[in-house]
Symmetry: C2
Subunit: 309 residues, 2 copies
């Protein structure tokens, strides 16, 4: 491969974590009682943190690889078919006989806010033997959700050893993510994830505690319309969210993580990566149906030019 080709080859990101079949229901208001409600719209779509991140990488022109644990069932077939149609390489995923693949019921209200009820099979084996070594995959970064803490810590450790950026999506179960929190080069919490981990909904206090545990390593929280707060060494900052007409926030955080990891893989600074990822996530929220709304690279670049002032 010539140097020029090497420079223009797309950056590759390995995403580890959850791939899900989502049943997404749209309702005027979020139901809160044990009654019957009628949805105005419905979509059956792929979801899950790592899978959504991988689709974002692929739509944005990156090379996307997914490592996930599935059951050997029809749900897995649908999940993988959807991902392969998006250009995601699923050859590093595993299917276990006798296990059930993950599905979610998702309720999206008139303001675009979403409730996710996810089922994952607690009997999925914990073995990490099948996980690939990032060093051998010509990667630019790995991006990891925390739904399988043992796998997350293992892959982030390998990425660190290979000198690759490793992004951790800080979400539940946050009581068992200590190893992953230390191995990651970048930890990006959701608001709910930071609250769960820190035991307080004071964002500043939570970030300070996380930054201390990580000896000043990069840590941030994505707080929806309130934008991103981050800490990195002695630096702390805030990047506001882009203002868009929000239709559906489902998967916005996942997509943010995939875009953030891709931008790091392309050699951008964390601050530039935050801005890029925030544009991608904002555009995603303008369409109903979870990952359906993930934009192309061209759409993001146009959007960023329009919002460059």
């Amino acid at each position: 491969m010539s140097e020029t080709e090497s420079e223009t080859a797309p950056a590759r990101v390995l995403c580890l974590g959850l791939a899900v079949q989502d049943y997404v229901f749209s309702l005027p208001e979020m139901p809160t009682t044990a009654e019957k409600f009628r949805a105005s719209d419905m979509a059956v779509t792929g979801g899950g943190g790592a899978a959504n991140a991988a689709v974002a990488v692929a739509r944005l022109g990156g090379g996307a690889l997914l490592a996930t644990r599935l059951g050997a069932d029809r749900i897995a077939e649908a999940i993988v078919a959807d991902l392969e149609a998006e250009g995601v390489d699923c050859s590093h995923s595993v299917r276990y006989e006798g296990c059930t693949s993950s599905i979610s019921a998702v309720l999206v209200d008139g303001a675009g806010e979403r409730m996710v009820v996810n089922y994952r099979d607690a009997a999925l084996p914990q073995s990490v033997d099948w996980l690939p070594d990032p060093a051998g995959l010509s990667l630019g970064a790995v991006s990891v959700d925390n739904r399988w803490p043992i796998g997350a810590a293992h892959l982030l450790g390998l990425a660190r050893a290979a000198g690759l950026p490793g992004v951790l999506d800080g979400e539940a179960p946050m009581d068992s993510c200590g190893a992953a929190m230390l191995a990651a080069s970048h930890v990006a919490f959701s608001r709910q994830g930071l609250t769960d981990w820190a035991g307080t909904d004071d964002i500043a206090a939570g970030l300070t505690a996380a930054a201390k545990l990580r000896n000043g390593g990069f840590v941030c929280v994505t707080d929806g319309a309130d934008g991103i707060h981050f800490r990195h060494g002695a630096t702390q900052g805030h990047v506001p969210a882009f203002r868009v007409r929000v239709v559906d926030t489902l998967g916005a955080g996942d997509v943010w993580h995939g875009a953030f990891a891709l931008s790091l893989a392309e050699g951008h600074t964390a601050t530039d990566a935050i801005r890029f990822a925030s544009a991608v996530a904002a555009l995603k929220c303008t369409e109903f149906g979870g990952r359906r709304g993930i934009p192309s690279r061209a759409q993001v670049e146009t959007f960023l030019r329009e919002h460059s002032s």
Copy 2:
């Protein structure tokens, strides 16, 4: 057919209304916020008012026929395959090209209470031409949910003309069920259905208004653990619910209606039919997974003997 054979042939009930694919999630507590929740158990199962009623009729030894509108899609194939495995005759149902079959997300909490979010395709044609005439089907009764008011009113009218009992499940949309309310021989509201229809949660006032509209025709409300309140001409009464360990109330009302219609089809009085249906619904609630828990006739008879004091 000899007279003896005719007497022992199972009573047949035609059920009209909704057939659904349910994705049922079990959680310790009912979620009420736009956050992420993890389910402890999950079942993919058939549901829908008329379909659940038909399965109850079949499990209880009756002849069950289902008239429902489906899309011409994979969901319909799964719905019909499940019903045929239960012995329900689906030959009087219709599948429309370009339409989507109905699916629901169902959340069941630790107390067995359920939230149902249902999607049905508003573009399903309203034509009633395909509906069979109950007079030609050797039926003992028809049982109708109100999710398709035009079809419900049409079939209940035909049943009345044929001199057959016609049971209406009084649920939404109650603003457009006037014709069905008058055509039915028996109207059984859910608590939510009666409240919606009467515009008050005062059960006595709601029943009085419904009985007046129906000129004294049978009307009742099924109120979960509080049992059944009914009015019939000058008579009013209350049948207490059976005490069981409730695991999952999903479909309990539907199953009650199917069992009630079957008992009427077998020639029992409304009071006896209430007691029978209440036993069936109570047993159903003791198992997780919606219609999964519908008992056999033998189980119901044993249960009724044990609770005969």
